[in-house]
Amino acid sequence: MTDLATPVTTRKDWSSDQEVRWCPGCGDYSILTAVQLLMPELGAKREDTVFVSGIGCSSRFPYYMNTYGVHSIHGRAPALATGLAVARPDLHVWVITGDGDALSIGGNHLLHALRRNVNLTIILFNNQIYGLTKGQYSPTSEPGKVTKSTPLGSLDHPYNPVSLALGAEASFVARTHDLDRKHMMETFRRAYEHRGAALVEVYQNCNVFNDGAFDAITSKDNRPSMLIPLEHGKPVRFGANGEKGVVIDGHGSAVIVDVDQVGEDNLLVHDETVGDPTLAFSLSRLSEGPNSPTPIGVFRDVERPDYGTLVQSQLVDAAARKGPGDLGALLRSGTTWTVA
């Protein structure tokens, strides 16, 4: 930790010696590659990096990174990571989780880590299915989904993870997908550089239990007309020739329009830094699921003191005010009397 120079590393330095055991063709591979390629670019130190995960296919991720790592229990990664990040503000703590882990069994912890703005980089692998338990519907599965546990179709209304995170007033929220390494790396980089809780939803294909779930928007042919790139300071616009765009209507809702009809100047100019999450939320509502035009990129990136720093500053203040802890004095701080 004394070496202040930016370490020069390669992908190999960040790969552990463990064999990667996801199903062949799983989207998790490309996410792992993106992270392993990104780490050298970030100039991060392996010993100061910790990957914490819960349970599920994605949660095997820490085993494959040559960093510190904890594969914890189902749903609790944000809670365990909160303790680590608060106790050790000097570390960079990543949370690797999935749609079942983060939104079903661990939904509570995710919300609280986001609202507290704990300094965590959270990567949520959303494949809209339970993979590790072999194919039951998840809290992001579309209504009517037929799975082993829903032979007549799922009755559940799904979560939109980006909307959920914005509802918890997360200070950084983004979305990317497993078929675009460049976009993934850029989005992860932004999340990494954000101080506080950063949530990135990654549309990830489970080729065994939910193959093609995102094809409608992420296949090469469909991307131009189905992905709405969010770029700070630029008009929100998409389509092969930029013929579609987004405006805010009279009710404050984001709606898709033909640029020809409204005029270029009337398109919404994306601003990640708006304090009120309402605008970002309305963008997150543009699509109900990955089968209509869907925004990707950074929805929101605002500055807010992170929890660990606030905790640390209370300790510093208390020590300045009361002096450093004196155990002998503490034990005599109540009413005392002496027996001769």
Partner: protein, 633 residues
């Protein structure tokens, strides 16, 4: 009143007195009891206290459900319990009398606030006739004092409005009882001055009410005599009055200092454990991080995450919370990281009796996780012992890299006793018990140096604790089974069998690192052993003393280490013809003793939400002795 010695009436000397203050939840009975306790402590008595309050913050006023009580036992000799029967009951309303009169023995005194005995209040308390006139208090010395009206009159100079003025009546009662038992008033008046320094009206009202209570005793000739309980001969030293929860909090602060580690508390509020969170939150200047988590699971998980980062991780809870933490504690067992879990036991199952005491989490603490998941369990035996137990739990956790459960309970948590303040230098140096890994610990066949997170210390079987930030020691932990040594995920059957046994051996091996159980057997030839654990210590000591005073013989041993048991426990229980195990549960330690040592231990079991009284244990001892006598013939 300045001179508390020259008394109009000569004080009668008593060796011990039990007073119970009882009133409505909002009547300030806990405060009155607490102040009386502090005065008695400063005066030099030995003492023991038992607060007893409803789970509801404000149950309907005037009802039996809403009665809050505080019992204090003070004496001129060392005592062990808050007392079986009150010598004096202070009842601020009919409901308080209704709730507590049954605990009074003939000859006991009752101090009634007669202003509160109107028809409506009697009805609310469930009385069909006024107990003062229907003979139901026969045999008791009843003193009727119009406390409300006397208080209202007394505090008039303070300018307090009538509704607020009435709230000072607990101080009137405190003043009167202080007079009756020749307690010094100064500590109370000084406390009032300090506590209400910023509220002149309340300060003045409470001071006036307190003095009025004292003066009423002095002036009104309704009390035959005043009493005195001389200071006890306690060992020399500096004392403070301490409750179990405060002692746990201070103990973990001390453990952090002694281990030179920052303390991280992850906790979710729950009765009766919340005061540990409150107390620790006050001491951030010790570098203590307190995290009020979103739930019990997050509390323990965050503490474990902090422990992974090199902090002394602690979580506090009570029964329902221990259920929820079970999975994360299992993870801590698998990760082999230090973690201290305080379980302040309360009545169960489910929500049970949140404010009442019980010892029924013993088997849960020892066995309550899936898989083979052993961990050390320790239990404090007195409020003051909570301090040392917290340090001992941290020592075991740090040295053996394991979660440790501390089983306190509602009785210890809220009860208080004079506690000899230890010198910091006398406390163990926990930093000598562990160290962080700093270098690779294994040379590969090709000569390269690597770090194996599960390469154990051959003596303690603890694995190395390498904290993030240490270059070269990057490693991955997880709840999946690990290969012995290298610590990679392993599904190998032979390896799993080995790892299960290694984890069990590690915990079992702690037996060599804990003291043998001491047996109090003054004559050395008793045939009956009373074996207790945790908070039953006081009641068993008092009972054994009483039995011995009558000439009978009985041995007593109290367990502080419940898992593993002290090495000599088997020999101890086999050395006696009979073993009696009193527990505030249906026989959990007894089951363990029988299973481990094939000894036909007998139980004394009570689950009323209350601690044992001396007499309960004494009667059980006598009946066991009688059975032994019969067997002898």
């Amino acid at each position: 009143m300045a001179d508390t010695i020259s008394r109009a009436r000569q004080a009668k000397s008593l060796d011990r007195v039990v007073i119970r203050f009882a009133g409505d939840s909002g009547d300030g009975m806990q405060l009155a009891g607490d102040r009386f306790t502090t005065s008695s402590a400063i005066y030099g008595n030995d003492l023991s206290t038992l607060p007893d309050f409803p789970a509801e913050i404000r149950a309907p006023a005037g009802t039996v459900a809403g009665v809050s009580a505080f019992q204090v036992h003070f004496s001129d000799h060392d005592i062990f319990t808050p007392g079986d029967h009150p010598d004096v009951l202070v009842a601020m309303n009919p409901a308080a009398l209704k709730a507590h009169a049954r605990d009074l023995e003939p000859g006991a005194a009752v101090l009634l606030n007669s202003d509160s005995f109107d028809e409506r209040s009697l009805q609310k308390a469930g009385y069909t006739s006024d107990p003062r006139g229907d003979g139901s208090l026969a045999g008791l010395k009843v003193y009727e004092v119009p406390m409300t009206s006397l208080t209202l009159e007394a505090v008039k100079p303070s300018g307090t409005k009538a509704r607020d003025a009435e709230r000072s009546k607990n101080f009137f009662a405190l003043g009167l009882v202080s007079w009756m038992y020749s307690r010094p008033m100064e500590p109370t008046l000084e406390w009032v001055a300090k506590r209400f320094a910023n509220n002149e009206m309340v300060r003045e009202a409470n001071t006036l009410a307190c003095k009025a209570g004292w003066n009423f005793g002095e002036t009104a000739e309704i009390f035959e005599s005043v009493y005195e309980v001389r200071p006890a001969q306690l060992p020399p030293g500096t004392y403070t009055n301490i409750s179990g929860n405060t002692a746990l909090a201070w103990g973990i602060i001390a453990a952090g200092q002694l281990a030179k580690l920052p303390v991280f508390l992850g906790s979710y509020p729950i009765t009766p454990a919340s005061d540990v969170l409150h107390e620790l939150s006050k001491h951030k200047n010790f570098g203590v991080r307190t995290f009020q988590a979103e739930d019990e699971i997050a509390g323990v998980s965050a503490a474990l995450g902090a422990a992974y980062g090199g902090a002394l991780g602690v979580t506090t809870t009570s029964g329902p919370g221990l259920d929820l933490k079970a999975e994360a504690i299992g993870l801590a067992i698998s990760l082999e990281l230090p973690l201290v879990v305080f379980d302040i036991q309360r009545g169960g199952p489910s929500t049970g009796l949140p404010t009442k005491t019980e010892q029924a989490d013993l088997l849960h603490a020892i066995y309550g996780r899936h898989g083979e998941a052993p961990l050390p369990v320790v239990a404090p035996i007195t409020p003051g012992d909570c301090f040392y137990t917290a340090i001992e739990a941290a020592r075991l956790a740090l040295k053996y890299r394991t979660p440790v459960i501390v089983l306190s309970d509602g009785y210890l948590a809220n009860g208080a006793e004079p506690w000899p303040v230890p010198e910091v230098e006398s406390l163990p140096d926990l930093s000598a018990e562990f160290s962080f890994a700093s270098t690779p610990n294994k040379v590969e066949p090709d000569g390269s140096e690597v770090f194996w997170p599960y390469l154990r210390d051959p003596e303690t079987l603890a694995r190395p604790w390498a904290v993030p930030g240490t270059p070269g020691l990057m490693h991955r932990l997880g709840g999946l089974e690990k290969s012995d040594g290298a610590g990679n995920v392993s599904y190998d059957p032979v390896n799993h069998d080995l790892m299960v046994r290694l984890r069990a051996q590690k915990v079992a091996g702690i037996v060599a690192d804990i003291p043998p159980i001491e047996v109090d057997d003054p004559t050395g030839d008793a045939e009956l052993l009373v074996l207790g654990w945790g908070s039953t210590y006081g009641a068993i000591c008092a009972a054994a003393r009483a039995v011995r005073a009558s000439g009978a013989k009985v041995a007593h041993a109290q367990l502080r280490h419940l898992n593993p048991f002290p090495a000599n426990l088997g020999d101890v229980v086999r050395a006696y013809k009979r073993v009696l195990v009193p527990e505030v549960n249906l026989g959990q330690l007894r089951k363990l003793v029988r299973a481990e040592f094939l000894v036909d231990a007998q139980g004394l079991n009570q689950v009323s939400g209350l601690p044992f009284r001396r007499v309960d244990v004494q009667e059980a001892i006598i009946s066991q002795l009688m059975a032994l006598g019969t067997e002898g013939r």
